[in-house]
């Protein structure tokens, strides 16, 4: 006899997979995720692997912006720190042009990338303690510009504009992921690696946000003064939010260019920050699964728009051939989607999902 609502312990009350339906669907998703690399083309697998990495970054932004309510436009800055830390650590130590330490072990450079970015986040965090809302957004915006300038001119680290440097080398227990192997192709290996990392970081984040820290963050978001009154140390939790968020950004940054194999300092600009904001807005603010949905959606969007010229004659695939280009369409779509979601479904893709779920959950009533 199943009585899912008869909670006999807080552990049961808090359980992530507290219903049979959730357990079932999680199993289906897991199996689907593992089968996918063997049925899908390699180029799409690379896109999906990029999406998993972007999801890690989006989860990070959602922790500080969605859960903690601290609007951050500086996500690209932290992604960059992660990317360059990882690239430098695993870089060629014999290179005369670039800094490199030759440690290609993935756990080492991944953790280092996260920690360095997290540290940077901690340094920025005191700003958040003093600023709110729009002011914080503007200050974090400043970070992106400072970062862009530094990365463009610190040639020993980044290789400079237009040149760049090789990305981090993914190697785990002697297995190289970025090259084709005997059993698996490069794309399959990268896809599985990123999927596993996403699951690890996703579960960690989910655990964080359902714990005391998560509840404190939500309290700060809803009203920092009220949170302080009920005993939440607002400054401390804002620092935690920024540190954890930056850690995730650092990890995502380190992995993001592994697929392409190359980092270009110009890419860490405001547009990238906005892209991540779009991911969490479209996916669903203050949800982990929403971050993943949003990241997949935004990452796959260019793939879809690239098909447009075949369908719509006024869209061209390259600039200069008249009409509008796919890149312009993409930008317009971002804008339209953000506006549309904010107006019609502020809870994002995940909100649509919860709406569907409650519809059936409440059957045959409305609530």
């Amino acid at each position: 006899m199943s009585r899912p609502l008869l909670y006999l312990s807080y552990r049961q009350d808090m359980a992530l997979l507290n219903t049979g339906a959730k357990r079932g669907w999680t199993a289906v998703l897991a199996v689907g995720g593992l089968v996918l690399p063997f049925v899908v083309q390699d180029d799409l697998l690379i896109v999906l692997a990029t999406a998993w990495v972007a999801a890690i970054g989006a989860i990070g932004l959602n922790i500080v912006t969605g859960y903690g309510g601290q609007v951050s436009l500086g996500h690209a800055f932290f992604l960059a720190i992660g990317a360059y830390t990882a690239a430098a650590i695993s870089g060629d130590p014999d290179s005369t042009r670039l800094i490199g330490f030759g440690i290609t072990s993935l756990p080492v450079w991944l953790l280092a990338a996260g920690l360095v970015a997290g540290l940077a986040g901690l340094i920025v965090a005191p700003l958040a303690a003093r600023l709110r809302g729009l002011y914080l957004a503007v200050v974090t915006l400043g970070l992106v510009f400072i970062g862009e300038h530094v990365f463009k001119h610190w040639r020993e680290l980044t290789g400079g504009v237009g040149v760049g440097r090789p990305a981090a080398v993914p190697e785990l227990f002697g297995v190289q992921f970025a090259v084709d192997g005997a059993m698996f192709t490069k794309a399959q290996k990268l896809y599985l690696l990123m999927l596993v990392l996403l699951v690890i970081f996703g579960v960690l984040a989910r655990n964080l946000v359902r714990s005391r820290v998560g509840r404190a963050l939500a309290a700060v978001r809803d009203r920092d003064l009220a949170a302080a009154v009920i005993g939440v140390d607002v400054t401390r939790y804002k620092m935690i939010a920024f540190a954890v968020s930056s850690f995730y950004a650092g990890v995502a940054g380190a992995l993001l260019y592994v697929m392409i194999g190359f980092v270009e300092p110009g890419s860490f600009n405001l547009a990238m920050s906005v892209q991540y904001i779009a991911m969490i807005l479209i996916g669903g603010v203050a949800t982990i699964s929403g971050s993943v949905l949003g990241a997949v959606f935004i990452t796959l969007l260019p793939r879809v728009t690239r098909e447009l010229p075949a369908v719509l004659p006024f869209v061209s695939s390259s600039p200069g051939s008249g009409g509008i280009t796919v890149f312009q369409v993409e930008t317009i779509l971002y804008g339209l989607l953000i506006i549309g979601f904010l107006i019609f479904e502020p809870r994002g893709l995940f909100g649509i999902w919860t709406r569907l779920r409650t519809y059936w959950k409440a059957w045959p009533f409305s609530h």
């Binding site: 006899m1 009585r3 609502l5 008869l6 909670y7 006999l8 312990s9 807080y10 009350d13 409440a362 059957w363 045959p364 009533f365 409305s366 609530h367």
Partner: protein
Amino acid sequence: MTATIATRVRDRAAASPEVIALREKDLGIWQQVSWAGYWRTAELVGHALLALGIEPGDRVAVHSDNRREWLYADVGTVAVGAATVGLYPTNPVAEVAYLLQHSGARVLIAEDQEQVDKALAAGDLPALERIVYVEPRGIRNRYDDPRLLAWPDFLALGKDHQERHPDAVAQRMARCQPNDVVTLIYTSGTTGPPKGAMLTAANVEFAIQELIERGGFASPPPSARDSVLSYLPLCHVAERIFSTWFGAGAGVCVHFAESIETVAGNLREVQPTILFGVPRIWEKIAAGVQIRIDSADPIKRRIGGFWLRRADWIGGVLAANAGRHTAASRIVYGIGWLFCYRALLDRVGLREVRYAASGAAPIAPEVLRFFMGLGVPMHEVYGMTENTAVATANRPGRVKVGTVGEAHPSVEVRIDELTGEIQTRHLGTFAGYWRDPAATKAVLAADGWLRTGDVGEWVDGTHLRITDRMKDIIITAGGKNIAPSELENALKASPYIKEALVIGDRRRFLAALIGIEPDTVGHWAQTRRLSYTTYADLAAKPEVVALVQSVVDDVNVRFATVEQVRSFRLLPKLLDHEDGELTATQKLKRSAVLSSFDGLVEAMYAKESR
């Protein structure tokens, strides 16, 4: 040794110590108590009572909502040979004073500050020596009455006594005789002050054997796999049967509802397998389902409405077939179960119910059919405190809607030929009213027949149909005998009507005082953009009067001309126990209501005569 609930709990604790006996929600989590834990605490209570000098035959009062401590206190009291007296949590000070004074309780176990205050305000109670309070909030370090004792200190007293006299409780249990009074159950008293019915150890044993072990209610009989939700006042005999006695007698796991307001939510969490309700509860659940379907979005409203109409038909088929499905109704139900009923029952917490019963007051057949159609096996049962609630019941598979069922195997039921009064005789007939031999004599004949005060008749020679309470029968000025409860229940079957009181004794026609249900009528008013402020304002709206008029008209069609309600007035307030208009069991006190709203009644007859 005589079996009592104490020996039964002890034996269960020995046989299955780890099995869960009780669950109570505390800070969002259902805390569990095993049979061993149940008995351990109950025995400590027994020792504590011994330490306080309780002798066999003394009374211990319990004034609390349903909670674990109520059962500990009950079992502990019975173990030491004393009698439990339950007080309704809603009892106002005057009634508390009367009950404590009349029962002569030496120890009172009060739930919280509210109940302690009532006892302290009750004036001079020479017999009352100790007041044990369960919830210390507001009492500890604030009150300095020497009689007060906190529950943990009370148990510590028991612990200490247990160490010095480890066998004392067992010795008391061994001395228990079948004729020892184990509980005083004060009847709600729709007329006059409450009377304390004395139930003996033998009465309770008979009820447990008849209703549980011989399967007088559920079939197969309740077992340790069943669970119940305890939410009606435990001082009432019905809830005592379903919580304490079903637990002690059959090992049923008892879940305590947080309060009467949270019953809907708790039902959903607990999904009990056996559920007893008074008509008011069933009417409320039925009205809730109807309202929630009506206020759903259009698609759900259509689908839900469609299946509710099918349920109505299924209920009709079941009612016509003694509660058994026909092939057609089973197929329709099967499809409906997939699309609607399974989910609907889950939402209202009736999904696992294998036996549902209604009793303690007459219920409208429409309500029974509604639940039967949804797939809840509903059974109307009949009994009263004075016969330990053992009289008749509709048995699974032999249901006749509109009757209260067949007599239990070991029960004699007869109908007095002159007055039509139902009388019962069996081992569960009570020992008399406490300190009231005159009242005892009036209902209990020397040959053991108990006069129930209900008028009834046989249907098909097997099933008993109750017409009404004897004293409520209306004789109109035209000389016609009318049972008001039938009309009242037909009216109350409407989701918009909460209370109905049909009058017309020695009058030319029937009239009614009607109390609207604020939730549903309020919702109805909202959907019509009808603004209102208070209950009185809502009840005075001409639109609301028109709504009730339409309900009355619908009901009138089903009755003969002389039995029709020709005029009605809406009550300007919600009836309340505190104001003396309802009994503790939420039954209407006719005389009290009539005297409070005397003006309304006269206005109805005055207007018509002009």
